[in-house]
Assembly symmetry: C2
Homo-oligomer: 204 residues x 2
DNA sequence: AATGGGCGAGAACGATCGTTCTCTCGTTTC
DNA sequence: GAAACGAGAGAACGATCGTTCTCGCCCATT
């Protein structure tokens, strides 16, 4: 087993176990058992649990945003893409191992104790907001910034409500609210392109 | 020190420490030191840490919803009350010891391991939703159920975004989105009572 | 005044944690 | 072929956890 494969197996095991059981509930020895990588190698590659936790969060961030962007990009029209985010969330909520937002969970557990974790979580949320901002801007919203922030709040809320309630339903509530917000921001949704919404409040 | 005072001191210490540092990061001995109650008495009143954690969550639930309801009830008109929830959230976010939703944090940490914690968290969210439903209904929304669910998602999202970002700003984003959602549901907001919103979409 | 029971202080216990060390074995290199 | 190296398995270490036990003291009852 070469180093890149060992890294992959370690991060795969860490991600599965940390996400399912929480970080403090999973010991290093359990990651060794699940990955099949010896404890010595584990500490060669990740010199402390904190380092492993941060690597887990940063790799998950990339994968998560990549999967979201890949799904959203299949929508042919830019005006549909902001709402597609919530369709993707609904699919994610329905997966059997869904257990909420890994970053929110990590922050609640270690945000006070570990600055590295706090920073990784903040970076993730900032990247998601940036991504939403691009989607909202390309959809033609009058003021993309505030709208993107509202969509980010809706997405975070949907994730936590779905995790706690154990149902994907909050994705639909969030989608409906997002639709209302986008419509109020002048983003047409059912009509073909080039047809501005009637009575759009051009605030400002 | 009689039993009721010991209980109060224990729950006060548990709440402060669990909320600030997370549950697994706080040992029973630290709660003993902070409360001034002996370990023997602690285990007489709360026979295990799990019992103490559940008692902490349930008492915090009552206090939290009580403070919210007290604040909202000061608004004279029913149509203002749903949005007042987000004003209260903004004040809460600005408190120096704010660290997100105690229930979401506890769920992320112990939701897998402790059914008692999961149930307490679910009960809290269900009660909040019930409360929002009453506010939205009394404000005159056409379909209070879906609107209340959207407001609940917005509140949850605002709490997590504020915790991670370290700023109260998400309360304003959530409030703006809530305002848009309420307006679309036929709840007039600026006008005095008895003046139905023009062009309200009476869906259904 | 004698005594007994409950309480506080803190030691003790077994388990588990993150991390390091030891021992052994297979491989490589001169 | 011998010696040096690297890696795996797992014991070991010190710390900390949740929980229980011991001991000495204070107070109440007779």
């Amino acid at each position: 087993m070469d180093i890149t494969e060992a890294d992959g197996r370690l991060l795969d095991a860490a991600e599965a176990l940390f996400y399912e059981h929480g970080i403090q509930a999973v010991g290093m020895d359990r990651i060794r058992a699940a990955s099949g990588v010896s404890l010595k190698r584990l500490y060669q590659r990740f010199p402390s649990k904190d380092v492993l936790v941060e690597a887990y969060l940063r790799r998950r961030d990339g994968r998560w945003r990549g999967a979201l962007a890949e799904y959203v990009a299949t929508r042919p029209s830019a005006v549909e893409r902001p709402l597609a985010v919530f369709d993707w969330l609904e699919e994610w909520f329905g997966e059997p191992d869904f257990r909420g937002c890994a970053f929110i969970n990590a922050y609640g557990e270690l945000g006070t104790a570990s600055p590295a974790v706090s920073e990784a979580v903040r970076d993730h949320k900032a990247e998601v907001l940036r991504y939403l901002h691009g989607l909202v801007r390309d959809a033609g919203a009058a003021e993309p910034g505030p709208v993107a922030e509202q969509l980010a709040v809706l997405a975070d809320g949907a994730i936590t409500a779905a995790a706690i309630g154990g149902t994907p339903a909050p994705a639909r509530s969030a989608r409906k609210a997002a639709s209302t917000v986008l419509e109020a921001a002048g983003v047409a949704q059912r009509q073909p392109a080039g047809c501005p919404a009637p009575g759009g409040h051009t605030v400002g």
